[in-house]
Symmetry: C2
Amino acid sequence: MTREELIKVCKAARLTLPRLISAGARVKMLEAIADAIAAKKDEILAANAVDIPLARQSGISEVMIDRLRLTPERLDDIAGAVREVAALPDPLTPVSETTRPNGLRIVRQRVPFGVIAMIYESRPNVTVDAAAICLMSGNAVILRGGREAFNSNMALVGVISEAIAPFGTRDAVNLITDTDRESVDALLSLRGYVDLLIPRGGAGLIRKVVDNAKVPVIETGTGNCHVYVHSSADLDMAQKIIINAKTSRPSVCNAAETLLCDRDIAPVFLPAAARALRECGVELRVCPESMKYIPDATPATEEDYYTEFLDHVLAVKVVSDVYEAVGHINKYGTMHSEAIVAGDAGAAEIFMSEVDASSVYHNASTRFTDGGVFGMGAEIGISTQKLHVRGPFALEGLTTMQYRVYGYGQVR
Amino acid sequence: MTREELIKVCKAARLTLPRLISAGARVKMLEAIADAIAAKKDEILAANAVDIPLARQSGISEVMIDRLRLTPERLDDIAGAVREVAALPDPLTPVSETTRPNGLRIVRQRVPFGVIAMIYESRPNVTVDAAAICLMSGNAVILRGGREAFNSNMALVGVISEAIAPFGTRDAVNLITDTDRESVDALLSLRGYVDLLIPRGGAGLIRKVVDNAKVPVIETGTGNCHVYVHSSADLDMAQKIIINAKTSRPSVCNAAETLLCDRDIAPVFLPAAARALRECGVELRVCPESMKYIPDATPATEEDYYTEFLDHVLAVKVVSDVYEAVGHINKYGTMHSEAIVAGDAGAAEIFMSEVDASSVYHNASTRFTDGGVFGMGAEIGISTQKLHVRGPFALEGLTTMQYRVYGYGQVR
């Protein structure tokens, strides 16, 4: 779509905002969406059946095909997730109210951003989640999903638009109806039309958006995460945590990419951990000192320590103490999720307060960084920036504040 | 300073962050700063005495000279403001704590941004306020004040650095020691070194920063504010409010720049308001319909409605109703401060919830948008963006969140 076409879409989307103020109306819209998805399964599955073989022809991996695939059961889950969002507390409430000495009553009120744009992967469930979370937080949304999900997304957004049309908010949920780069470039430039842009996906997309956007952005997702084993660690626990953090789902952003190990325990811990990791199919890329304990490993390059492998590959490095571990993480990490395994509470507190990441763990796996796990229900993404929101975010992260001041003629 | 020199400054600043974790230490640093300013008045005043004649030679206005001038009393006030910040509640506290069903204890903790850079006007008091607020929120800061305050800022930052040196945090407060544009350009590019950049000043600077920054930015200050007089308004109150909003301090960002008036009351309200405004020396630029009631005014151009005059100039426009007023404000405004004068509570609520501004007023002047007035003590600026903070912001706005998760071996 051209810039001019997108501006038209944004303007129409903005006009729906007053109809998203009422919490009751928002809940009813989400319920209508869930009902419509359940009622129109055949239509949606037929569109998905067009996407799958095309995606396979284009040569994407089976993991990606699986993320793209819809089934009747998955559509039930998707509709159920919408109902769960509808059942969450209204995010658009006052957060404080004070009356000043001059009689002014000042209400600090949570309000929507306005028009949110989202660029994301070829996962049709994200289309529905994003629409539901944006609407529930009073925002209109412009969706730009991955090209492989094009027909599925057209069907889903068609169903959603029709479901909310009776509320006068048909234009509140929009799909960019092409897969050109031009649309993404145009989105980045729509200052004054797009209030917030959320890119999800690979490091390349995120970097491009952050470098070029003139609109406000929340960066998500890139996770170069570490597990640091302190000399005071319970070594069985440490091994269990690194195995889980690396191998339970290597393709996700909260998986670990580097193991840091204190020098004092390296001779004991590293040989055993290496054996267990290799049994899980993990390739190890190690520092010169680790090589003494894992003699047949590949030497790690500087680049390896910067890399989010998203695969069965793990970098390994021996460090002197918690300060060197913190320094390494703050240099090479992406401020996503970082773990220390330690018996010593003092060392753990240094790690927790000095590591500059959205989520820090003492004696637990990095894999827990997730909206559902953190108790916020569905999430829109995991922010790796410090501005506005950090870590998993959902309804509250899609709101901003407004001061509403009530007087009776006060002047200054 | 070159990019490389600035990177060195940023790295040294970051190394001080662990010493800013303790609330007790931060309070003591601020007290030391206040004491040092009181003790070194002569030194600071001597530097200021160099700046004043140079500034006058460069032809800046007397209003600006007055903002630049320091006196013994003003230094007392500046030191007093530092003590007030030191007495505020510690912003770096946990905001929530939950234990999840799997036993993970999740603490959501307020943490500093890290290294904050600030570009601001030739006002030496801002140098000290900014240093105090950044330190109190656990941040290191790089200051780039206006060129006219160069010697005053050198003296003040010298005094501050010396005062905090015993805490090992000398490098936590830094002044860019030149007035070249090169330094500003370099600051904008320091992704990974500067965690947050706050520009204060004219619309030109803000626009340049927002368009070019690769680092996270909080925009401040530009205020194209409106007063809207609804047909149900108490007209005496309305006149008092527009006179105050326009004339009490026309050069500030929360002053009104446009008066909107409902058609029904225009024949009564506009002639009287115009007379009173002109008695205060205000030039009126009016729409064709207003011209019927203010016959000898200047016609307003489209550009006038977009302009923050910061002077004794006011644009005037007749509108049909609250919806047209909201539409005008959302089109021409800068999302700063907007007021409705109305007896009708329904019209007021439509205005308050649909106007897209940081601060909205019912029956009060726009001039109240201010950190002190809103009860947050000193402010670092007034954010006109929606991301992160909106409206006046200070300690809390200079923090971000971190999830700290405590376990005993949990894996996923």
